[in-house]
């Protein structure tokens, strides 16, 4: 193509803008987060967790800095005000995907609501790992993915108690 043609006879230039796709942080990638969610649930007792618990773990595992801060907190080296939990708006979305993929289930909680004899309070809502979710967690453990996250979760050694979660969240509110 001759470049002069583009400039046109009247000397007007036409500028064409192509919208470029945006890069996104790896934190946002769905499949990775689904796999990570199965690992988080495996860290919890009975492979199930409340939403606040998941928010805390999800924040803790997020970055090398948060992992360090959380470990320090668990070992009692850092007061909870130095480990400030951030609520991640993509977590509910990840959970929604996981529910649809049948990697996790919240059916126990929901059924109770339908039967309706007692209101199920938000505090009783639990996300639970399914067989399929467990298979994914096992597959992850066999391959070389989410390595740093796994090293971190293992070092927690299932020692994350509800009390710790509450303490962290309480500080977050102040």
């Amino acid at each position: 193509m001759n470049e002069d043609d583009d400039l046109g006879a009247e000397g007007e230039a036409t500028i064409i803008l192509h919208p470029r796709n945006q890069p996104f942080p790896g934190q946002f990638r769905t499949v990775r987060r689904l796999a990570l969610l199965t690992l988080l649930l495996q860290t919890c007792r009975g492979e199930q967790a409340s939403l606040p618990q998941l928010h805390v773990l999800n924040w803790a595992v997020r970055t090398p800095e948060s992992r360090r801060a959380f470990l320090a907190f668990v070992q009692g080296e850092v007061p909870p005000d130095e480990a400030v939990v951030r609520f991640d708006p993509t977590l509910p979305r990840a959970i929604q995907y996981a529910l649809e993929e049948e990697i996790v289930s919240d059916r126990d909680a929901v059924q109770e609501t339908l039967e309706g004899n007692a209101e199920v309070r938000v505090s009783e809502y639990r996300i639970k790992l399914t067989d399929k979710g467990r298979a994914i967690a096992e597959a992850v453990e066999e391959s070389v993915v989410l390595v740093d996250e796994r090293i971190f979760l293992e070092s927690l050694n299932k020692k994350v108690t509800q009390a710790m979660v509450d303490e962290l969240l309480k500080w977050g509110k102040k």
Binding site: Q22, F24, G26, R32, R33, E142
Partner: protein, 674 residues
């Protein structure tokens, strides 16, 4: 590689007498026949227990044996408390025949001991055999002198590979990892092939590595060679850093900058070179040789003149002092500016490093996503195909609201983008580091120049104060300064010579490493590996046909070239019907045993199948399996089967075939002896 069970002895002492059983096992197919819940599984588990291999069942340190050996035994006089019990197992390996004994009921430390008698103490008892105690299921049981698994591996002829863990530490491939290839327990061994992999041991890619080891594939040897090469490279990197550091420390601190000799190990041997040395003089970089020539020349000029007296020197001295003071002030300002610049560029380096770190983390996360997506089909994750799990519409693969005004890059595009960014920032980093070093060195040169100027100033002032007949202090100072400089330049030269020697030796080692790396090649299947896998696949598919596998079309099934597990058009076979799952385990494990007949593998030539639970075997073609297993006798292999199939049926199925039946009818296997 050889492991055969020759004889088993179980003894349980209760309050009212001694109970137990004794049996011997020839080569070929051995059927341990008894009605249900008469103790078949207990006997088979005793084999596992006597060898300390129960670690394959899980991390628990509980004894995996029935209460009959541990707590309470049902006798003709009612239930009785177990006082003590043990299992003795005579085994044959590459290194002959030994008898292992392990206590079952007892305290946990006694259970961690296995006593080995060096001889066939069950079939041919003698007091003459030597005996030695080993420990098991404690740290070091696989690699220390008194570790039973270290003994057992050597006895069988296994040289177990050492792999590297995620955190970089090394670990031996434990025997518990390869046990599932020759021992299938009743509880979950039949669920699918990988159900019994002891993942708690935290060995990366364990199921692949163990399959590679059992089949003795070259790819594992390459992987291990690469681990070793990686370690050698780490050592060389460290040595490079040391050589460089020692050289830099031995340079006199007069602002000498080496050009070349990068901080990190160069990627080619040709770049392992002694650097050119530069020095900053009047804000220009000149080579050290050039500088040395100037200094030598000036020193020689001065040495040919007499030292002038103050009188001859002082005429111009006042003017010179003023000049020197101006010069000193200007250079000092310059020095301060430089200090600021050095700080700035160091901050820049730190900022780039921070950015690089976060880019790498981001890249790793994307890479994880990519790897998981590749396995997404096998794991049945619909999102892995950018498909909405609810409605099947296309989704973007990131956790943002669909249809929002965002156009996220697709994964591969994002990965490419990050790769570019990392490359760019690495360039920037290298550049900033070079700049920082240059600036620091220039500052060092200027600082040494300032020192010289200060000395000159002092000398000049001294000169003006001194009597006119005394020799010129500033001239003497200048001579001394030049002498010192010459000594320093000699030091630099000596340091460079020493460096050259180190580099020469280093170069040879580095070249050897790169050559070895080329020789080792990439981690992929060799032709010989492929032949073995094809052999396994052929035998696997042939058996599935015989066993009437029906979940998928058999011609679509393969042994996957990555996982080495059965796969259906590239997807892990996963969960099929209960009876097909059993067929798959039979065909796969028997296939492994059979490959050992025609190829060199690390299979022990030994296989134990406990009977699958009753409800799972319905309609399974047991006959075809037994007829296949019978062939093991022709190759000196051994297959032990727990079964409750009626005797008449077995005899009919295997009419005219050579096999051994240990039939206990409807009696308990462990019964009163005394």
């Amino acid at each position: 590689m050889k492991l055969r069970v020759r004889a088993l002895q179980i003894r349980v002492r209760a309050e009212n007498g001694l109970f137990g059983c004794d049996m011997t096992f020839p080569d070929g197919l051995v059927l341990l026949r008894a009605e249900n819940s008469k103790g078949k599984s207990t006997c088979l588990m005793s084999i596992l227990y006597a060898l300390g291999l129960e670690g394959m069942l899980g991390a628990s340190h509980q004894v995996p044996l029935q209460p009959v050996l541990l707590h309470e035994i049902g006798t003709d006089e009612g239930d009785q408390r177990v006082i003590d019990s043990y299992v003795r197992l005579e085994i044959e390996g590459e290194a002959g025949v030994v008898t292992a004994m392990r206590t079952a009921a007892g305290d946990s430390m006694v259970q961690k001991r296995i006593s080995v008698v060096y001889g066939p103490d069950l079939t041919d008892p003698s007091k003459a055999y030597e005996m030695k105690d080993f420990f098991v299921r404690l740290k070091g049981d696989a690699d220390s002198e008194h570790g039973f698994h270290a003994f057992l591996a050597e006895f069988v002829g296994w040289k177990l590979p050492v792999l590297s863990r995620f955190d970089g530490t090394r670990t031996i491939l434990y025997l518990a990892c390869i046990t599932p290839y020759f021992f299938v327990d009743q509880l979950s061994g039949w669920r699918d092939i990988k159900a019994r992999m002891p993942t708690y041991l935290q060995i990366p890619e364990m199921s692949r590595r163990t399959a590679e080891y059992i089949l003795s594939l070259d790819i594992l040897r390459i992987a291990i060679a690469n681990i070793e090469l990686g370690e050698r490279e780490e050592l060389l990197k460290k040595r490079w850093a040391e050589i460089r550091q020692r050289f830099m420390a031995s340079l006199p601190r007069i602002g000498i900058v080496p050009r070349g000799l990068p901080e990190s190990l160069p990627s080619s041997v040709a770049d392992v070179l002694a650097p050119a040395l530069l020095i900053s003089v009047d804000d220009k970089w000149i080579s050290l040789n050039e500088y040395a020539t100037t200094v030598t020349q000036r020193a020689r000029e001065l040495s040919q003149q007499d030292v002038p007296t103050t009188a001859t020197a002082s005429t111009a001295a006042v003017e010179e002092l003023a000049q020197l003071e101006d010069q000193f002030g200007a250079r000092l300002r310059k020095f301060e500016e430089q200090q600021v610049e050095v700080r700035l560029v160091r901050d820049q380096v730190a900022a780039i490093e921070k950015r690089l770190k976060s880019l790498r983390e981001n890249y790793r996360q994307h890479d994880d996503d990519l790897r998981l997506r590749k396995r997404g089909g096998a794991l049945k994750i619909r999102s892995a195909g950018d498909e909405c799990p609810t409605c099947g519409q296309h989704v973007s693969g990131v956790l943002v609201p669909e249809g929002a005004n965002l156009r996220p890059m697709v994964l591969e595009e994002n990965l490419a983008f990050l790769r570019d960014q990392v490359a760019t920032f690495r360039e920037m980093h290298a550049d900033a580091v070079r700049t920082a070093e240059g600036k620091a060195k220039a500052a060092e040169a200027l600082s040494s120049e300032l020192g010289d100027l200060a000395a000159k100033l002092r000398a000049q002032k001294e000169l003006l104060r001194s009597r006119s007949s005394s020799p010129s202090v500033s001239d003497i100072q200048e001579r001394l300064r030049l002498q010192t400089r010459l000594v320093q330049l000699d030091q630099a030269k000596a340091a460079l010579n020493e460096l050259a020697e180190h580099l020469e030796r280093f170069k040879n080692d580095y070249k050897a490493l790169l050559d070895d790396r080329k020789l080792a090649g990439g981690e992929k299947l060799t032709e010989a590996d492929k032949v073995k896998l094809n052999e396994l696949q052929a035998r696997f598919l042939e058996q599935l046909k015989l066993y009437q596998f029906e979940s998928y079309r058999i011609e679509r099934l393969t042994i996957d070239a990555y996982t080495y597990r059965p796969s259906n058009e590239g997807v892990d076979l996963g969960i099929t019907s209960a009876s097909d799952a059993i067929r798959v385990v039979w065909a796969y494990l028997l296939g492994m045993l059979e490959v050992a007949r025609v190829k060199e593998t690390n299979h022990p030539g030994f296989l134990v199948f406990d009977e699958p639970k009753q409800q799972m075997v319905r309609g399974v073609s047991f006959e075809a399996l037994m007829q296949r297993a019978v062939l093991s006798a022709d190759f000196g292999q051994q297959v032990i089967f727990g079964t409750s199939q009626p005797v008449a049926e077995i005899e009919q199925m295997l009419a005219g075939k050579k096999f051994t039946m240990l039939n206990f009818g409807d009696e308990k296997i462990i019964k009163r002896i005394a």
